[in-house]
């Protein structure tokens, strides 16, 4: 079976990286490098930004994302030797996060993030969203024991059948209670964080 044009035009990460690395020879090479770089960005930005966002606060995310890709552009010609571009990109991103973490250590924590207290926690692991966590925890603590057990079971992946057996609850009751608890928690957390 002959290959379709789709198959022939999909460049691998390493092929694109090679074009980026060859940018110094001529104007045409530079243009090709920019185009290749754009394609690498387009290909990997989705998962990379998800990774960065889950480890860094929202208001600094644009700068962090730019910093990562700036490093990729700067360092790729000399320090990427092919093989697994995504692994290399991940390493760059981790280093950028570590830098941010070190800067943060030099400043008082601003209430939006905290370092995981485990001694084994990686330096790029800042637990963000801890206000959300604490607020929700306080709200759950105010629930009745039955409602709290239902929340814990549902958010632990148990289905209604299992939960009803375990909690001795009728399915109709479980559904109704879950509905009420959701509304209650939403209100409670909103008030707590407003």
């Amino acid at each position: 079976m002959t290959m379709t044009p789709f198959e022939t035009t999909v460049a691998s990460d390493d092929e694109l990286a090679a074009l980026v690395a060859r940018r110094g020879a001529s104007e045409a090479d530079l243009r090709a490098a920019h185009a290749a770089f754009e394609r690498l960005y387009r290909r990997h930005a989705h998962l990379l930004t998800a990774f960065l966002r889950s480890r860094f606060r929202r208001d600094g995310l644009d700068d962090l994302n730019q910093d990562v890709w700036r490093r990729v552009w700067d360092f790729l010609p000399v320090h990427y030797h092919g093989g697994n571009f995504r692994a290399w990109l991940h390493q760059i991103a981790r280093n950028a996060l570590i830098d941010q973490g070190r800067r943060k250590q030099a400043e008082p924590l601003d209430g939006r993030e905290e370092r995981l207290s485990s001694p084994n926690a990686a330096p790029d692991r800042l637990l963000i969203e801890h206000e959300r966590r604490d607020a929700l925890k306080r709200c759950i603590d105010r629930l009745s024991p039955e409602a709290a057990a239902l929340v814990k079971g549902r958010l632990g992946g148990e289905n209604y059948t299992e939960l009803c057996v375990r909690l001795g609850m009728k399915p109709e009751r479980a559904h109704k209670l879950w509905h009420m608890v959701k509304a209650q928690l939403r209100r409670c957390v909103e008030q707590a964080l407003s």
């Binding site: 079976m1 379709t4 044009p5 789709f6 999909v10 460049a11 940018r23 110094g24 104007e27 243009r31 490098a33 920019h34 185009a35 770089f37 754009e38 960005y41 387009r42 290909r43 930005a45 989705h46 998962l47 930004t49 998800a50 990774f51 966002r53 889950s54 644009d62 994302n65 730019q66 910093d67 890709w69 700036r70 490093r71 360092f75 000399v78 320090h79 697994n84 995504r86 991940h90 570590i98 830098d99 800067r103 207290s117 485990s118 084994n120 926690a121 969203e129 959300r132 966590r133 929700l136 925890k137 759950i140 958010l155 632990g156 992946g157 289905n159 959701k182 928690l185 939403r186 964080l193």
Partner: protein
């Protein structure tokens, strides 16, 4: 404030794809925080990610969490920092499934687009730092905002290259939010994104080429037949939602309307399989539909050439 965890699916069969979407979205930190509020923060998870994924690691990287047994899925929910480890693994080793996993949120698309514009601006800035290779590669130097750095001012000339581009397609990915992703035809991740600069006639021709991949497999039983039709039908959704940048507005309208017609026909073929019709007979009818759409695309390509 939206509480992410309260949207957990009622039906536990929807749990894997729900988690999959959060693993590639912007809300994972919030999800982890909320799960910690429920189950308590585990400073050191009692199990490692490797222990949870054991023997299913490759399947998860290819197919998503649907490959993980329910009890181990629950472990991820109860030790939520493992989700961060899993996200990291997916970034490095995840297969095409993870890149084609539905449309990112508007916030996520905007973030990616702002990044693209930032790069574009850096390349358009005057100066010539295209060859600026810093020797402190991967160093832990304290970062300064990229646009304040000399390299940004210095990155040079060929700016227009990035101006041409593109990220809209990745920012608004073409794959709809479906649970299965089949990497062929119009449904192959990146397929359309790789054709951003081709002339309209080539674009339509390539769509026809991609459609012809239908004939690469010849399913003979009902299940395989239904699966193959569903995959092709997903490709139609991809085309309906895509930007089709190489095409004029008129051609885009034509293509999307055609796609809708083809989607309707494929739905009918699928219904026929489900209703118990002979799969080989249905296959012949799908062949006819596919040949017809290939002809339509080729004819249109000649018209716009």
């Amino acid at each position: 404030m939206r509480l992410i965890t309260l949207d957990i699916p009622d039906d536990s069969s929807g749990l894997p794809s729900w988690l999959d979407r959060h693993l590639v979205g912007l809300d994972l930190a919030a999800l982890v925080a909320e799960l910690e509020a429920v189950h308590g923060p585990a400073m050191v998870p009692p199990v490692s990610l490797d222990q949870v994924l054991v023997a299913r690691r490759d399947a998860i990287l290819e197919q998503g969490l649907v490959a993980l047994p329910a009890d181990r899925l629950r472990t991820l929910l109860r030790c939520p920092t493992l989700l961060l480890d899993l996200q990291e693994l997916i970034l490095v080793e995840g297969g095409p499934y993870w890149r084609g996993l539905g449309q990112p949120s508007a916030e996520h698309r905007d973030l990616i687009e702002r990044g693209r514009r930032g790069l574009e601006n850096s390349f358009t800035a005057k100066g010539g730092a295209a060859s600026s290779h810093r020797s402190d590669v991967l160093s832990k130097a304290t970062p300064v905002a990229w646009y304040r750095r000399p390299w940004a001012v210095g990155l040079a000339t060929a700016a227009s290259v990035l101006a041409i581009v593109v990220y809209e397609r990745a920012a608004r990915p073409v794959v709809p939010n479906v649970t299965a992703t089949a990497g062929w035809g119009w449904n192959r991740p990146d397929a359309l994104m790789e054709m951003e600069d081709v002339p309209p006639s080539d674009y339509l021709d390539r769509l026809a080429d991609a459609a012809s991949e239908w004939f690469k497999k010849r399913p003979e039983n009902r299940v395989a037949m239904a699966r193959r039709i569903v995959e092709f039908r997903q490709g139609c959704s991809v085309l309906i939602l895509a930007d089709h940048k190489p095409l004029s507005a008129r051609e885009r309208t034509w293509l999307v309307e055609k796609c809708r017609d083809w989607a309707t026909k494929l739905d009918a073929h699928l219904a026929a399989v489900k209703a118990g019709r002979d799969p080989l007979q249905v296959r012949a009818e799908v062949d006819e539909t596919v040949n017809s759409l290939i002809r339509a695309l080729r004819d249109r390509a000649r018209t716009v050439a």
